[in-house]
Amino acid sequence: MANVLWLQGGACSGNTMSFLNAEEPSACDLVTDFGMNILWHPSLGMELGDNLQQMLRDCVSGKIKLDIFVFEGTVVNAPNGTGEWNRFAGRPMKEWVRELADAADFVVAIGDCATWGGIPATAPNPTDSQGLQFLKRDHGGYLGKDFRAKSGLPVINIPGCPAHPDWVTQILVAVATGRAGDLSLDEFQRPKTFFQSFTQTGCTRNMHFAYKVSATEFGQRKGCLFYDLGCRGPMTHSPCNRILWNRVSSKTRAGMPCLGCTEPEFPFFDLAPGTVFKTQTMMGIPKDLPEGVNKKGYIKLTGAAKAAAPAWAEQDIFVV
C-alpha cells in the first residue's frame, strides 16, 4: 500500500480535473487495483480542519509514511517571500511543501505550474510563483536544484497544461509498484518515456509538413499548422499524438496548433498579443525552427519539398 498525498498551490485545478478523467486505470482503479491509499486530495480528501492539519503533521513527522507527495500548482511566495497569499491548513502552503517534500520518498510535480511556474509565473509574475525545482528554464525553483526526495530522485516533473491523465496515472503506478528505478528522466526531470518524442510524432499532418502545405485556418483538415498558425509540434516534447486525448484525438489532429505546453517556457512570448497563434518570423523565416534544423537547411528543404509536392497534397484528402 503506497500512501499518496496530493496538494494544490497556485493553480486552476486543471490537473485535478484531468486526473479525475483518467480511464484504465481510473483514479478509483489506482486505489482498488494498484494499492494506492489516497491520504488526501483537494477534491477527494475526507479530512477537514484540525483533522487535516494533524494528518499533515503526522506525514511530516513520519508517523504516517508518506510514499508519494504530489503537488499541483505553483509555490506562491508573495507577498515579500512570506507565501501568505496562499495559506493552507493554518499556514503558508510553501511551508507545508518544504516539510512534506523532505518527508516523502517521491515528489511528483503535476502540470506546468508545479514543474516550472507555468502561467502564474509569466512576467510580471505578481504572485512571485515558482515551480518545485525549476522556474521556467532555470534549475532551482522553490526546493533548490540539489533537492532529492528520500528515494534519491529529484522531483519527477510531469508537465502539461494540463498533463494528460495517462501521464499522471502511469507514473504514479510505476512509483507505487516499486518500478521508479526504471524511470529515466531528461534534463528537465521529465520521464523520457513520455517526453523524448515530439508532439509531431504521430501527427496526422506530417505529410503536409513534409510537402510544406500550410493550413491557414483553425480546424482546416488540409495542411500543417507550423508555417502560419504557430504550431510548436516540431520542437515540443510530448506524446500528444501517440497517447491521444480522450483516446480519440489531439490538438493538431483537430486543427489547433500545439502551444508547447510541456516546455518550460510555456506560455511562450509571455502571451504578447499576436504571438500565440501566429508563427513568429524574422525576415519571413520562422524564428523557432524544428528541433535540430538550421536556417540554411530549412530553406533548402522547403524549396525542394515544395517543388516536389504532389497535387494530392494540396487537396482535402479527408473526404466523407
Binding site: 502560419d228 501566429k278 525576415m283 515544395k306 497535387a311 487537396q315
Partner: protein, 116 residues
C-alpha cells in the same frame, strides 16, 4: 478519381484570365510598395490590415499594398523571396492562398508578405 486536378477546369480558366490581367497591370508599370519589407510581426499586421480593408476584387490595391514584383526579391542575406518557396503558394494551382490575397500568381513573382 482524378488526383491531378486540384481545381475545376472552369476555375483554372478563370485563374488564367486573372493571372494575365495581374501580369498586365504589373508590366504596365503599376507602382507597388516593394519596400519596406514586412519583416516583423507589426509590419506584417499593418500590411494585412490594409489588405483587409480592400474590396475582394480590388486587384490593383492588393498588388500595390502587398508590394508585388514580377521577379524574385533578394534579401540582404541573399535569400531569394519568390512565390515558389512561399508558404502561401499552392504549387499545382499556381495560387497564393494568403487569405487577404487569394490570387493566381506565378512561381517567380514575389511580394513583401513572403514567408517560408
Amino acid at each position: 478519381m482524378d488526383r491531378e486536378a486540384t481545381v475545376s477546369p472552369e476555375q483554372t480558366a478563370a485563374d488564367g484570365e486573372l493571372r494575365k490581367r495581374l501580369r498586365g497591370m504589373l508590366e504596365s508599370g503599376l507602382e507597388t510598395e516593394v519596400e519596406p519589407r514586412a519583416y516583423d510581426h507589426d509590419a506584417v499586421q499593418s500590411v494585412v490590415a490594409r489588405l483587409q480593408a480592400l474590396a475582394p476584387d480590388d486587384y490593383e490595391g492588393k498588388l500595390r499594398i502587398a508590394g508585388f514584383t514580377l521577379t524574385p526579391w533578394r534579401g540582404e542575406d541573399e535569400i531569394e523571396q519568390a512565390c515558389e518557396t512561399c508558404m502561401y503558394y499552392v504549387v499545382h494551382r499556381r495560387f497564393c492562398e494568403l487569405p487577404e490575397l487569394m490570387l493566381p500568381v506565378e512561381p517567380e513573382w514575389s511580394c513583401r508578405l513572403w514567408r517560408i
